[in-house]
């Protein structure tokens, strides 16, 4: 039995971005993020997500986004908006989750999320250098 597809996943599929053949390592990344998503651990794993996106453009270490990116994005978008809205120290939040926000911003443009629902980012904010 197939579960209902979300509007964003349907929109992503309409973009005709070919699903790449995954290596064993990429399949494991996919399992990792699907597990985080389905077990309701996205908020708890936001630091891990940021760390992963520091070293990878997308969640399955592919050159283009996959459905896993879109499914996680649906959960991360409201969390990101909440993070930015609930602090006065915006710079600190931007610095801490800079890679998550980069990824969210790319996907919200790609999926043409309506302006009012987007994470509003100040691209002129000067962030401190990242200590790796």
């Amino acid at each position: 039995m197939k579960r209902a597809m979300s509007d964003l996943v349907a929109k992503f599929q309409s973009l005709s971005i070919a699903a790449p053949a995954l290596s064993k390592e990429q399949s494991a990344f996919s399992t990792q993020w699907q597990s985080v998503l389905h077990a309701g651990q996205v908020e708890q794993q936001l630091d891990q997500l940021n760390l992963f996106l520091r070293d990878n453009t997308f969640l399955v270490a592919t050159l283009q986004p996959t459905e896993t990116d879109v499914q996680l994005f649906e959960a991360v978008l409201p969390l990101s908006k909440q993070l930015v809205a609930s602090t006065k120290d915006t710079k600190d939040v931007y610095a801490k989750y800079r890679h998550v926000f980069r990824w969210v911003d790319y996907l919200q443009q790609l999926l043409q999320v309506p302006g009012a629902d987007q994470l509003a980012l100040n691209h002129d904010l000067e962030l401190p250098h990242e200590v790796v």
Binding site: M1, R3, A28, F29, T31, Q32, S35, H38
Partner: protein, 169 residues
């Protein structure tokens, strides 16, 4: 480069979460494919992790699937149920035991109908999540576990700190 696994030795987020993660890691060691047979246990790291050169994973389900090189069934209802209905309970402060038992009962009736000597990664994920929530019910259905699971249970007992708070194992 020898692959390394470290078990979760932290007290948080919950005993259920830690036990399930560690049992999956122990099963990853027991059921690893031949190319990964020499997995070392790294006792210095205190969180669940698999490292092989530059490649690393922090999620126990992903580590188990990677070690077994078995990613089948992840778009199935069983995978979704094992995570969204069973594993999602592990982080709750007070797990409603009656509800957990009902969920385990459904998992045993609908998905975990058998436990062969060579189970799939998906069967093992469902097994661990059900066993963690309600071991008595799982043992009642499967009085004799396959050898790999028995060895993994012995291994996880050595590597999971024992605490008393509301935990059946």
């Amino acid at each position: 480069m020898v692959a390394q696994i470290s078990f979760n030795k932290e007290a948080s987020p919950s005993n259920y979460f830690n036990y399930a993660a560690n049992l999956k890691l122990a099963l990853a060691i027991e059921y690893a494919t031949k190319d990964l047979k020499k997995i070392e246990i790294n006792d210095d790291n205190k969180t669940a992790q698999f490292v092989n050169g530059d490649f690393s994973l922090f999620n126990a389900n992903a580590i188990l699937c990677y070690a077994m090189d078995d990613f089948a069934g992840q778009d199935s209802d069983e995978f979704h149920y094992a995570l969204a209905s069973l594993e999602a309970l592990f982080r709750q402060k007070d797990i409603p035991q009656e509800h957990a038992s009902e969920c385990v009962q459904k998992a045993l009736a609908s998905y975990l109908t058998e436990l062969s000597a060579t189970p799939s990664s998906l069967q093992l994920i469902t097994f661990v999540n059900a066993f963690t929530l309600d071991p008595e019910q799982v043992i009642a259905k499967f009085p004799e576990f396959p050898e790999g699971i028995k060895k993994a249970l012995a291994l996880v007992a050595k590597h999971t700190p024992r605490t008393s708070a509301g935990f059946k194992h």
